[in-house]
Symmetry: C2
Subunit: 349 residues, 2 copies
DNA sequence: TACGGGGGTCGCAACGTTTCGACCGGCCTA
DNA sequence: TAGGCCGGTCGAAACGTTGCGACCCCCGTA
């Protein structure tokens, strides 16, 4: 088998120097139209389809690839519309700069970063896995001196893109209080590695080690809502919302309002309420967080807090691009907004 | 700013040759424990975190990256559980070999392949975008001599991983006929670039240019079902299923059974039927295709055809790994299976 | 004592590009 | 007509590895 043609071969065939041949492809630098055509013709002749990307990267000192660190179980992870929209934002912005997106599935709970993260070429990384300061993935990147952008997590000395989680949840709390609700049940996102999913004592929850979970809980309290019952979900899944919904609706006295820390959880709450024949919002109000599309929800429009998810991804990508180019990048905290729907109403008398 | 340490620096600091230093990291070749420790110590001292991946790739002639070509709009694309599960399978298998997964969003309709596909380093590619033989993405890869694995599409001279779409849909048709249904409405997946979404004449549908759409339609006919009404969906989305569901249920005489070319579409059909107060399956039977989890569907268990989606991804990745290593890989066609649920029943009298 | 073998180390030549500086004419301007 | 400038081309030196072959020395064996 004959090996692939290189720039040297093309140059020889075209009767020019290697430097000139390079110019014909890179476009940077002066070259006459005639020469360029000659080189391109020779290239076509030899089946040469452009400079070897690896060699180019080595010479340029840049790989043109941004690592995107996501949670290991893509199947669960990408079932979450929030993750997908973030990724979509990232992909859009990276695409505009012709940068590659290397997906790196990571399981920080395993205690070590994947081999890939240690060895793969990348000019910068975007951490979508919510890894905190001490996490393996973060350490590996630091050791490799790969600049990192954290999404939804603040890490000292790193750029991070976040939203005002606490303020958003406070708005929900105030909204519910304004409607006269005083008995509120809550299903939270995972609380942290050392807290089991299931019931949570609202009076002594301990501090969640997941930044946005902690922030959203804090927001609830700031808004004057101390839940009468709480459940910790295994993940942002509808099934968990259903399970938690039944658990919460079993509480005595029954909560008049239920809050999900994500829209998927809230959708589950809604389904649980429906299963029990409860009318929403007459019998029970339900609110979520995220503002994602749930086309299968039917007539109901979920009261929720919309966050600019795609924008978060785009900003993260833009920051990563800047860092990859050796420039500085700034952290950002984006605003969220309460969007009242049809699933919340006055508390029953 | 001081530039990053290289193997040369480490070797010098450790007082050994570059080759020996390399040995300490690659592990390939004989090296005394003492020397290795010395080199590693020097490396730690200099903050050297292992060989530069790009240089290594250049030297080795392999980048350790597999390109995964997906449809452009990640947001729509990844809303589809099928796409996600496939990707999950791919990621799992690639991860086991410590290979990177470069996500390349592509819009073949635009007529040209993304810059990234032309220029990014990859040892092989997996096409999840259903690109047919002539598509830009396929051409670019061929020109670059990047071996490709096609999923759900057969391309002459390339490896492809598919399922028995026709057989699956034939099983659905036979199932429905066995239940006495003769008036069947269908919502198909997109038919091809030059066929508008919306109503389709079941008697003269023309041949779909999307291989699995064509195969599934053919399977229906093979099973003895000539639909009385048909709708072409914009994509595998619940909303489209709902829209099509209403359109199909408006047909006179009303179909007694509805078939969706995907579970998401079928779920939409189900929701449309519910919205109209129709009982499933007493008033209308509904069947889908894919066998994905739809936890929000409630009590109903969708009658569907399960395909080994994750397995498809795993096989595709395995094939890509083989091709990247210069070995041969074989195409595969996986079996699907009818899984009767609670959404199909005897045709109303 | 001489010889063979093997573990460990080292030099050097790639891998395929980009880019910097030098060089060479020809053309414009003074 | 001479000087300067600029468009176009070229050589050569990196970029940071890996891996082949050579080499050296020590030990075991004949």
């Amino acid at each position: 088998m004959t090996t692939r043609a290189t720039l040297t071969d093309v140059a020889r065939a075209a009767g020019v120097s290697i430097s000139t041949a390079s110019l014909a492809f890179s476009g940077a630098g002066p070259i006459s139209a005639a020469t360029k055509a000659k080189v391109l013709a020779a290239a076509a002749d030899l089946g040469y389809s452009g400079p070897n990307p690896v060699a180019r990267s080595l010479r340029r000192g840049r790989s043109g690839v941004i690592g995107v660190v996501v949670r290991k179980d893509l199947r669960q992870n990408f079932r979450d519309p929030v993750a997908i929209q973030t990724l979509d934002g990232v992909a859009t912005t990276l695409g505009e700069s012709d940068l590659g997106m290397l997906l790196v599935p990571t399981d920080d709970a395993s205690g070590q970063a994947p081999e890939l993260l240690r060895h793969a070429a990348m000019d910068a990384a975007i951490l979508l896995n919510g890894a905190a300061a001490g996490a393996p993935s973060v350490r590996v990147l630091r050791d490799r001196a790969v600049p990192a952008v954290h999404v939804d997590t603040a890490v000292r000395g790193s750029v991070s893109i976040r939203v005002t989680d606490a303020a958003g949840m406070r708005a929900v709390a105030e909204h519910l209080r304004g409607l006269g609700h005083s008995a509120v049940g809550v299903v939270t996102l995972p609380w942290g590695p050392h807290v089991e999913p299931g019931p949570l004592d609202p009076a002594r929850p301990g501090r969640s080690s997941v930044p946005y979970t902690a922030a959203r809980w804090a927001g609830l309290l700031e808004g004057g809502v101390l839940p009468v019952a709480a459940q910790v979900a295994r993940g942002s899944w509808v099934e968990e919302g259903i399970r938690a919904g039944h658990a919460l609706l079993d509480a005595m006295p029954r909560p008049t309002a239920l809050v999900g820390f994500s829209d998927l959880l809230a959708a589950g709450l809604l389904l649980a309420a429906r299963e029990r024949g409860l009318r929403v919002p007459q019998d029970v109000s339900i609110a979520g967080f995220d503002g994602v599309d749930l086309p299968w929800l039917g007539e109901d429009v979920l009261t929720t807090v919309t966050q600019p998810i795609q924008e978060k991804g785009r900003l993260a990508a833009a920051a990563a691009i800047a860092l990859a180019a050796g420039e500085r990048a700034r952290s950002a905290v984006l605003e969220v907004e309460l969007r009242p729907g049809t699933t919340t109403g006055p508390a029953p008398a």
